[in-house]
């Protein structure tokens, strides 16, 4: 299945909605888009993985890379991941302790102050 990416802004947060499969073939496109967003000045990024069918270790690598890039720029990255299938992967890799994970975009926006990143 293909990867789909769409970006919108919710209360000063940049929400990147990802759908389909994030694997060794499609992960470079996700990386590109995240780099573009950070370069364009996005500092509070929420990656919505609700419609992701499959995420492999290359995809995780891209998310970790984005987290590092955003932190270095004084920003924040939150992940929306409601379903168990994906949560399992975050648990096995213990990345659930590194990423801020939320059930929904609303929960992520409520928990993240869009300006917190810049002043930090």
């Amino acid at each position: 299945m293909e990867l789909s990416l769409s970006t919108r802004t919710v209360d000063h947060h940049t929400v990147l909605e990802v759908g389909g499969e994030v694997d060794v073939y499609t992960a470079p496109r996700l990386r590109e888009r995240l780099v573009e967003l950070v370069e364009a000045g996005a500092r509070s990024v929420i990656v919505d993985l609700s419609r992701v069918e499959f995420l492999d270790s290359t995809g995780l690598g891209v998310l970790v890379g984005a987290l590092k890039r955003l932190r270095a720029a004084g920003g924040t990255l939150a992940l929306v991941c409601g379903h168990e299938r994906l949560l399992k992967i975050f648990r096995i890799t213990a990345l659930d302790r590194v990423f801020a994970l939320y059930d929904s975009v609303e929960a992520a926006t409520a928990a993240t102050d869009p300006d917190a990143g810049q002043s930090a």
């Binding site: 060794v24 270790s57 995780l60 690598g61 970790v64 299938r85 648990r91 890799t93 213990a94």
Partner: protein, 412 residues
């Protein structure tokens, strides 16, 4: 100029049967040709020749190399006049060859400049044509032949590249999958590796086993995220570093932190990380200590049942260097146990009717009753991959590495 007869079969048309193989639908594929010619009279002549021959050619015209530059990539063949205002002699040809890789080039020379045509072929053009000495059929054939020759050259180049890459992959694979250093009387060991569906992508799975003292084994199974030479090379580095650390009898708790330091200092990109499972087994004492860095847990096989080892996972190596990796000890009951350590490629496939992805639960469900299904430990990994592929519906996408340590040696 003579009007070519296109209806009778000419001897040179016997070539076309072969040349048209790339367009198996019957009619020859249309060629997109860019003529770079500053003389409107000569350009008109070329157009007329092609029309007369009813050649399946879409001709575009540029009057200089500069004007042609933006259109190079959208054509199959370039027909280049060697006497252009902005590029005389072979300089225009060199410029074009530098800027295109897959496009064929034919040059046009005057009768007195035939030596230039020969030199052009020496520089990389596919053919040369002498103005005034070519009819429409010959021109069409030369263009098509140039395109096919360029294609054949490109294919040969790609094949050479693929062969080199394959040799490189084979070298790296040998580095990733070593000869275990284990006395067969200590325990049975079955190692297994299966490259993923996309053979061209070298995976970063690796394993190693070292008997550090009689009855004491160290096992490692790991996976560098991503696929490619970079990842595989890092996998080899990690495996060899790990082997050196355990051979040097570095305390078990210090091995993975040191391995992470090696990863951080050797990786080319910040996005490269690795998951590993390290298992230290004291066979006479019937104890195993398991440390996981972002890796799925080993499965304990005993009394015909399969149970995942409950280990609090440590973080993937390379994400936040310096985090500690918890260790848990498990009992290996009597002489009836097997310990299966694997990479996630085994459990990432589709899970059939019951599970969305096979996962750890699906893996254990497959393994339950293993003693009745699989005659010997030696056959288990291959059988397991077969079952996983059956549920996946096609070969597994990712590489799979497995180590099965078995108390009973070659028997359950």
């Amino acid at each position: 100029m003579t009007l070519p007869d296109t209806t009778t079969t000419r001897p040179e048309l016997s070539h076309l049967g072969q040349l048209e193989r790339t367009a198996p639908t019957g009619s020859p594929e249309r060629l997109r040709v860019l003529l770079i010619e500053d003389d409107p009279g000569d350009a008109f002549l070329v157009q007329e020749l092609l029309v007369e021959a009813r050649a399946p050619v879409d001709l575009e015209i540029a009057t200089s190399v500069a004007e042609a530059r933006s259109r190079l990539r959208s054509v199959d063949c370039i027909l280049l006049d060697l006497g252009l205002p902005d590029a005389s002699g072979l300089s225009g040809l060199r410029e074009l060859l530098n800027e295109t890789t897959g496009t064929a080039v034919c040059v046009l020379t005057g009768l007195e400049d035939e030596h230039l045509g020969i030199a052009a072929v020496g520089e990389g053009a596919q053919d040369y044509l002498i103005k005034g000495q070519v009819d429409g059929v010959l021109l069409t054939r030369a263009l098509r032949y140039a395109v096919e020759r360029k294609r054949a050259d490109e294919n040969a180049r790609r094949l050479r590249e693929a062969q080199l890459q394959q040799a490189e992959s084979a070298r790296l694979e040998r580095g990733l999958l070593p000869q275990p250093l284990v006395d067969p009387s200590t325990a049975g060991l079955v190692s297994f590796y299966r490259p993923g569906r996309h053979r061209a992508l070298l995976g970063g799975d690796f394993y190693d086993v070292v008997e550090v003292s009689p009855g004491r084994l160290q096992l490692l199974v790991g996976d560098v995220c991503g696929h490619g030479v970079e990842e595989a090379a890092l996998g080899v580095t990690l495996r060899v570093a790990w082997r050196a650390l355990v051979l040097a009898q570095v305390p078990d708790d210090a091995v993975l932190p040191a391995l992470e330091q090696v990863l951080v200092s050797e990786r080319r990109s910040e996005e490269l990380f690795a998951t590993v499972a390290m298992v230290s087994v004291d066979v006479p004492a019937g104890r195993a200590t398991i440390r996981l860095a972002g890796h799925p847990p080993p499965v304990l096989l005993t009394e015909g049942r399969a149970v995942p080892c409950e280990v609090d996972p440590g973080l993937v190596l390379g994400v936040l260097p310096g985090m500690s990796c918890p260790a848990i000890e498990i009992d290996l009951p009597g002489s009836d146990w097997g310990l299966l350590t694997y990479t996630d490629g085994l459990i990432e496939g589709l899970g059939g009717d019951t599970y969305d992805r096979l996962g750890i639960e699906g893996l254990c469900a497959l393994l339950n009753g293993y003693r009745d299904t699989v005659a010997t430990p030696h056959e288990l990994p291959r059988w397991l991959v077969g079952q996983a592929e059956l549920r996946n519906g096609e070969p597994l996408a990712d590489d799979v590495a497995m180590l099965l340590l078995n108390a009973g040696g070659a028997q359950w």
